[in-house]
Point group: C2
Chain length 349, copies 2
DNA sequence: CTGAAAGCGCTTACAG
DNA sequence: CTGAAAGCGCTTACAG
């Protein structure tokens, strides 16, 4: 009895599997990784032996030797934002089906936490980083990651350079603004997007350009990306204020509609509203939200693919993918509803 | 020149740091882990040497030798649910400040995906698991994890046994129901919670008990935990229907209020509404949502602490923590608003 | 504190 | 396909 290892307490190693299957250790290793260099029957015999012994592949050991961990580090700027939550789910699913596990950190918009987590990811030897940079992150972070030899892709938010997947923000708000102009609105303001990052500036730009192209003055109503704050802000607006709001995103649009309700006004009738993102709740809102759609899951898939390619070939030039947005016309813009005639002006003044 | 390693391409190891600092390898290893067995000046000298060489601790190597990875696997049943997103952020923050990294997987309520991710976590040698089991997960999963030697804690959702941190669901809905009874409602229905899991049954139970204790028939209006579905359901309710809805959670309550609006009725006036969770949006809703609060972040902290203790001492009995809920009375329950006199009945009929 | 050594469980490279 | 060997970068244990 003495000296016989208890299989219940001692985990099997590849050597044990090889012994059980009656093959060499290197053969067993190849079989467990489904190498095509082996005959099918050998592979099966080894895999059945592994099954019998309850063998569990030890990726930590493989990682130490080969340098590949099959772990990706993901940095989310604010996971309680529903759009980023959807995006996180998308990225996670795409990476998972490629055989990777993902280390997740919520930076909550803190560059300090972001850096700390990046260092922790490095210690854990992740194969790459997928990130939505916290507001205030300098582009030089990309150079540091380069020095560390860590492939990286930014997603949604990004910098002028570096691998990236995200929506075409400017086109999105331009579509929304043009739609409102077509409905006869002139007093259109942009609500939200107070943070200084690529998303805010892109969305503002698309709106502002559409306005000036129609000879109208753009107006920025800045507030944080927060339903409560948007609601408070909009509740103070009077009937002398804008007749339409191009909102930074859906959460801000939701807040705006609640603020109108609070002030006894009707979203979609008294003030037209458009959002951005088309999160799941947008279509079931009342009134259903007119919004700019770029499927979070598509961004996630694109980002994951770019990163995986980059890990495969780190010397290839950084790829950038900009996803075309579409305007989902529903009811909150007042399309199909009647606007008070007094406030409605002809398109060609 | 030949033979001199390029520090930019070759990462420093502990041996290099020891050489640079002029100490033994084991001393350097101790210093880098802040061992109190070393003199402060030795520790500093080593740490400065590490800094100069750009040394990065290789946790994969340490993991292989010591068996500890400082990685926790987290299984979220549905990360796009705002409550679970908040909880995820809470758990992540608590674990992060304890020096852990967290591998996250969104199971999207699929037991199959859940199992696959659990196996992947095991290969990655996580130190423990924190999970919200997908609906339909058998309690026997706990035994399997036990056999694997993987400490585990369930959070929010759980089983009759095993380490757990979660809200007192029954007390929560009881508080909400009693509040509505006190406001004079008799026709109170329970909306949502169609899934068969510990949370649904607990919340239904608290409501049902409070009803029967008042001699009233409990009524279940089942729908999925989804704003759109709740909205559709409630939009079909007529004035002959219930005067108050105890909603499974805040998302369902949000959906209910949008459904009422859609049907031209006023949430909080025509039908009283209560939620559960008190997610961030609840207080900025219109009307502000009366709801049962158990801070997601507190559950996250409790769950993390239980898991960490369990990792420290796996033989200790499984701890279970039930967090007491509080009722946040706001406006959606109609407190302070006038109910249509015809539908209001005295408390003591 | 030092120093020499073994070992965690893989992968890799190579001669046969 | 086999077999023997080296090595990834740590931790651990121990004699000094």
């Amino acid at each position: 009895m003495a000296g016989i290892p208890n299989p219940a307490t001692k985990r099997a190693r590849i050597a044990d599997v090889a012994l059980e299957a009656g093959v060499a250790r290197s053969t067993a290793a190849l079989a467990l990784r489904d190498s095509p260099r082996l005959r099918v029957e050998t592979r099966l015999a080894v895999q059945q032996a592994a099954e019998r012994l309850g063998y569990v592949y030890n990726r930590s050991a493989a990682r130490l030797r080969s340098g590949r961990s099959y772990v990706i580090g993901m940095l989310v700027c604010e996971i309680t934002n529903p759009f980023y939550a959807e995006l996180t789910a998308g990225v996670q699913a795409a990476l998972e089906s490629a055989g990777y596990a993902v280390l997740l950190a919520n930076t909550a918009e803190s560059p300090v936490r972001q850096r700390r987590m990046l260092e922790r990811f490095r210690e854990q030897s992740v194969d790459g980083i997928i990130m939505m940079p916290a507001t205030g992150t300098p582009a030089s972070l990309l150079d540091e990651l380069d020095e560390w030899g860590l492939p990286c892709v930014t997603v949604v938010r990004g910098f002028r350079r570096g691998a990236h997947a995200g929506p075409d923000n400017a086109t999105g708000t331009r579509l929304a603004t043009e739609h409102l102009l077509r409905l006869g609105h002139r007093d259109i303001a942009f609500l939200g997007g107070a943070a200084r990052n690529s998303v805010s500036s892109g969305r503002w730009e698309g709106y502002a350009r559409a306005m000036t192209a129609s000879g109208l003055m753009p107006l920025h109503l800045p507030c944080r990306t927060d339903m409560g704050e948007a609601s408070d802000f909009v509740a103070t607006l009077t009937s002398a204020g804008p007749t339409a709001l191009v909102c930074f995103n859906d959460s801000v649009a939701f807040g705006a509609s609640l603020g109108l309700l609070r002030a006894g006004r009707q979203p979609g009738r008294d003030v037209a509203l458009t959002g951005f993102d088309d999160i799941r709740e947008a279509s079931s809102w009342f009134p259903p939200l007119t919004t700019v759609r770029v499927a979070a899951v598509d961004i996630g898939i694109a980002g994951a693919r770019i990163l995986l390619d980059r890990i495969q070939d780190p010397s290839a030039p950084a790829r950038r993918e900009t996803l075309a947005p579409t305007l989902m016309v529903r009811a909150s813009c007042g399309a199909g509803l009647r606007l008070p005639a007094a406030r409605r002006k002809a398109r060609t003044t």
